[in-house]
């Protein structure tokens, strides 16, 4: 049998470490576990859009808590991906107000043109489709969230194409400092 090499233990980048240090100042010293959710967000952004068991163990070590305390949280909140994902995770809102404005049709359209099925990733690894519940932008439905950005009013093939070509043009995924993703039209000021 070939000897298997142990996977390298993940490490936070210096930028992530600095951000974690800043976050920890937000809570009383004996309550640092409070920083668990924001640190898991950082971890997911740092390590390819999902949190592997090894990454979760790193988070536990960082906070000085038991790994189970991380696992039980990461499995509760829907934003943490517990399996590998494609380059872009498209989170499609499927709740009532979006459904009234065509989210079923949007999901079917996205499955057709990306080649991914909901819950899965396209064969080329570019797009993962995920259905999510209400994103709180119901007046601008239907909506897709990709990382920190909302794409709104995706009720025409043109709007969907514009979103996909913007995503395809992203050459790298800067993590820290936080990327400027741009606001959806509904939140622009003037």
């Amino acid at each position: 049998m070939e000897p298997t090499t142990a996977p390298t233990k993940p490490q936070f980048s210096p930028a992530a470490q600095a951000e974690i240090k800043r976050l920890l100042t937000h809570y009383p010293e004996d309550r640092s576990k409070s920083a668990l959710l924001p640190i898991l967000h950082i971890a997911q952004a740092e390590f390819g859009g999902w949190v592997s068991p090894e990454v979760q163990d790193l988070v536990a070590e960082t906070l000085g808590i038991k790994p189970i305390e991380v696992y039980e949280v990461s499995s509760f909140y829907t934003q943490y991906n517990l399996k590998p994902v494609g380059k872009h995770v498209l989170e499609i809102c499927r709740t009532g107000p979006c459904m009234l404005r065509g989210s079923d049709e949007l999901t079917a359209h996205l499955e057709r043109i990306t080649g991914a099925k909901v819950g899965g990733t396209s064969p080329d690894g570019t797009f993962t489709l995920k259905e999510v519940e209400c994103l709180a932008a119901c007046g601008f439905a239907p909506i897709v969230q990709v990382r920190e950005k909302y794409y709104e009013q995706l009720d025409t093939p043109e709007a969907v194409d514009a979103m996909l070509s913007e995503l395809k043009s992203l050459v790298h995924r800067p993590i820290l400092p936080w990327e400027e993703t741009g606001l959806p039209n509904s939140l622009k000021n003037y």
């Binding site: 959710l37 009532g96 209400c134 003037y190």
Partner: protein, 446 residues
């Protein structure tokens, strides 16, 4: 046009910066409170204003504040609930992204009133881009001396932080929110003890919605009595309504409480009527968990009076012919909408979002989703219609938190007013499951 207390300057260029916000009268309430009022006087003004919680429950804010325990030498907290997740509701996102300093100002004035030295804004994790806007604005407020040590030389000090969730509707329930803020699963706590006695880190805590805290700013600036002059009866002041669904002009509207529902839906000042020239079929007026009403009952009460956008008028008739103002998430459905499909969709939502702690909710929401799925897809029986009503009844009142009620009410109301449509799915499954099919018969009004 009614008066706008929160959103008057929302479209001013640069209003998200400290400088422009300050130029438009920003942070006056902090100056007034810290320099000329005692904390108890601030609470008193909020009581006088008649302000009621804008997150959905409508509980009087001043009273909630006065319940806060104040044991000597124990820190206490003000926590802002920015976990906006009730389907149909999207006002807080807008307020925070465009007017971050309004929320920060309200947090400072509110924290002073409650004696909090550290306060948190708990924002849903999907809105990390809004969290960054808030953090930038908070840094500006620190730099200008409105946060940190000895604010404006008053001797009062406050730290303010933003904390993200990570995708869980249940964290909008205040004790689940506090668990989540402590780095745990969002399982609601048994009450008592209430957060006012044992909240964050088991310390006395007040949790208020974003819009509630923002409303403290005009209340302190102009006085509680002035605020209470707006609105009707016990529904004082203004309210942000998130309008969505089949409307010509969906969006966020700040209304003076008391606007007739008919005017809100049809006038060009607000939603501009139903899209595509269609007729209105039904409305969910206060977020997905409040009872759905057919057109006839949302425009007029059972007694034939005009329905108004107030807590009292919308709940006129109780759950037999009325509904609730709730969070102000106003979802309009046109004549082509399938009520069975919509009810199934909402049930799927509550099943997905149940934390699983209480058996009636964990199991019951699953049953509701499953049985509604077969009704919607033409495999249901007449017995199934009574079954979902019975399951809903068994969830209601038997859970730690109100998610149980939130899951049960929409089902009960949909069957009450649209029973014929559910029956039509059983008797005409082929027709009912055709794409775009919707029952056009008359609803049940009593």
């Amino acid at each position: 046009m009614g008066r706008k207390l929160l959103t008057e300057h929302i479209n001013v260029e640069g209003i998200d910066t400290f400088e422009v916000y300050r130029k438009h009268g920003g942070y006056r309430s902090v100056e007034k409170a810290l320099k000329t009022m005692t904390p108890d006087e601030v609470v008193e003004e909020v009581k006088k204003s008649g302000l009621r919680g804008r997150g959905g429950a409508g509980f009087p804010t001043g009273m909630k504040w006065s319940f806060l325990a104040k044991p000597e030498g124990v820190p206490r907290y003000l926590v802002c609930n920015a976990d906006e997740s009730e389907p149909g509701t999207f006002k807080d996102r807008q307020l925070m992204a465009k007017l971050p300093h309004l929320l920060i100002e309200g947090m400072i004035t509110g924290s002073y009133a409650l004696g909090a030295r550290t306060s948190y804004i708990y924002i849903r994790g999907e809105l990390l881009y809004v969290l960054r806007i808030l953090e930038k604005a908070i840094a500006e407020a620190y730099a200008a001396g409105f946060l940190g040590e000895n604010i404006l030389g008053s001797g009062y000090s406050l730290d303010l932080h933003v904390h993200p969730g990570a995708g869980a509707y249940i964290c909008g329930e205040e004790t689940a929110l506090l668990e989540s803020l402590e780095g745990k699963r969002g399982n609601p706590r048994n009450k008592p003890p209430f957060p006012a006695v044992q909240g964050l880190y088991a310390r006395p805590t007040v949790v208020n919605n974003v819009e509630t805290i923002a409303a403290v700013v005009p209340i302190i600036n102009d006085g509680g009595d002035e605020y209470a002059k707006l609105g009707v009866g016990k529904s004082t002041g203004t309210k942000l309504i998130s309008a969505c669904g089949h409307l010509n002009k969906p969006g966020i509207y700040e209304i003076e409480l008391g606007v007739p529902v008919e005017e809100f839906i049809y006038s060009d000042e607000y939603c501009g009527g139903i899209w595509k020239g269609r007729d209105l079929k039904a409305v969910v007026a206060g977020g997905s968990s409040v009872p759905i009403l057919p057109k006839e009952l949302i425009l007029k009460t059972a007694a034939g009076e005009n329905r108004l956008m107030t807590y009292e008028s919308l709940s006129d008739g109780g759950f037999v012919t009325g509904t609730m103002l709730g969070s102000g998430g106003f979802i309009a459905m046109d004549e082509t909408t399938c009520i069975v499909k919509n009810t199934w969709n909402f049930s799927r939502f509550y099943h997905h979002e149940s934390c699983g702690q209480c058996s009636p909710c964990r199991e019951g929401t699953g049953w509701l989703e499953k049985v509604l799925h077969r009704l919607e897809h033409g495999h249901g029986s007449m017995h199934d219609i009574d079954l979902i009503v019975s399951v809903a009844k068994q969830i209601e009142g038997n859970t730690i938190c109100p998610l149980g009620e939130a899951a049960a009410w929409p089902v009960a109301a949909a069957v009450r007013h649209f029973r014929h449509e559910f029956e039509w799915h059983v008797t005409n499954p082929k027709e009912a499951t055709m794409p775009g099919a919707a029952y056009r018969g008359a609803p049940v009004l009593a």
